[in-house]
Symmetry: C2
Subunit: 270 residues, 2 copies
């Protein structure tokens, strides 16, 4: 999905909500546990109940890999279901990959071509040749580079001073030159809303993927106030707050209610 | 596998060779291409031909994920084959994972418990809570943290000054306090042999996983001279140089010859 198409969807739906599809068997409702593939059934129900309220879905690969091959099968069924039924949604493989050039090329092929995600999250530590292969899989394919993450460990290295700036600023400055606002986004945690103004100063045109609203404690309003650009320029993700709003038979309905609350708060920024 | 067991294997075999199992269908010999699962057949042949010359095997997950679900199945068959037939080999999932705490826990569960690897490579950018979950999967389970990698992009961020030291030194200093030499190793590329002395000064007791000998141009002798400690403390990896020594019917035999050359050069350091 191209940048123009994504912006169009955001304007149309008046939402920049991304829903994280992180299925945790310990938290999933009994209602789906007897299905042949509980993870896929759960995702399908969540997607069907929320698709008109969000513009993106973001499965985190860890939750699927943790279930071994059958989990990976559920991931593939989920992305296939999205691509067949909701082709206007932006899809993100939250995989945080990154390796030497010939290996990153393999990951790019896996996620962006074989599994046909629109985008993949990428760790910047290994530098240019670890990120570049994700930028050459064709138009509408994206690398989403970690800049400033939402977890407390973010301060261990990302906020270290490298002279005139902090490491995450160095990452924004340097890696933004490897791609364009048409094929690269950055991850900035919602718990780091203060830093969003500095991020915007460094990358005014790029989309930002912002996790950490909800269970992790970030504020949607602060994120929107500090992070929006002329094209909105944000995808704000919520996972647990939506997925596990109820673990009863009404789980999809309750997920929809939570998604709706977030989407309504987003409307005025779109 | 515990540190003591690994050191014992190194002394016994007089080798600290790790073989990277990175199966690339474009380079694999015709001899295996008609098998039901060419990747597994290739790995099995390589393992059977080299097991007495090396102490570790390191499949890079990208090469399996690039083949979709069937590739992941080949990976699972490979680790199962190793664990059943060669339980004295140290196994490394070269996956370079790392995410917020609850998500890293999922990856730890996937690779160290579900798939029963001894260890997994981990990216440090997200800090302590992204690495710690890999250190609590029980004795003999390891996190191998990226410090200074072998690719040219390593200089983009890893060699940035953060005041008194470079970022990779900061990573070594800080993250070595999260674990012990019994559950944590570091990746230091063979192409960075000059830096190995500084690395050793910072982490004298930890094992180092050293990729980049062979196709990437690193020198085994330099690595050993600068990187050995009293317990050898090195796992030197070669992938392409061994796997694709020949693409004829003699591929396993030629792979053995290449592995033997490396193992022989290692003997005097063991």
């Amino acid at each position: 999905m191209t940048r123009a198409e994504l912006v169009e969807q955001i304007r149309l739906k008046k939402s920049f909500l991304c829903i994280g599809l992180d299925p945790d068997l310990d938290k999933m409702p009994n209602a789906v546990m007897n299905a042949e593939d509980p993870i896929f059934e759960f995702n399908k129900a969540i997607i069907d109940a929320t698709h008109d309220l969000c513009v993106a879905y973001k499965p985190n690969t860890a939750f699927y890999e943790a279930k071994g091959l059958s989990g990976m099968q559920s991931l593939v069924k989920t992305i296939d279901y999205l691509n067949e039924n909701y082709p206007n949604h932006f899809t993100i493989a939250d995989a945080k990959r990154g390796d030497i050039g010939n290996t990153s090329r393999m990951y790019a092929k896996a996620f962006l071509t074989e599994w046909a995600f629109d985008s993949i999250t990428v760790a910047p530590y290994m530098g240019s040749d670890s990120v570049s292969p994700f930028l050459t899989e064709g138009p509408g394919k994206w690398a989403i580079v970690l800049a400033l993450t939402s977890n407390h460990g973010a301060s261990d290295f990302q906020k270290k001073s490298t002279g005139n700036q902090l490491l995450f600023e160095e990452v924004l400055n340097t890696s933004s030159s490897w791609g364009t606002p048409e094929n690269m986004m950055f991850v900035v945690g919602a718990t780091q809303a203060d830093a969003l103004r500095e991020v915007r100063a460094l990358v005014p045109d790029h989309f930002l993927l912002v996790p950490g609203v909800g269970a992790q404690g970030g504020s949607l309003e602060e994120v929107a106030e500090n992070g929006c650009n002329d094209d909105v320029g944000l995808l704000v993700n919520s996972s647990r707050g939506i997925l596990y709003a109820s673990n009863g038979a009404d789980f999809a309905e309750k997920a929809r209610e939570e998604a709706k609350k977030l989407a309504l708060s987003m409307a005025k920024y779109c």
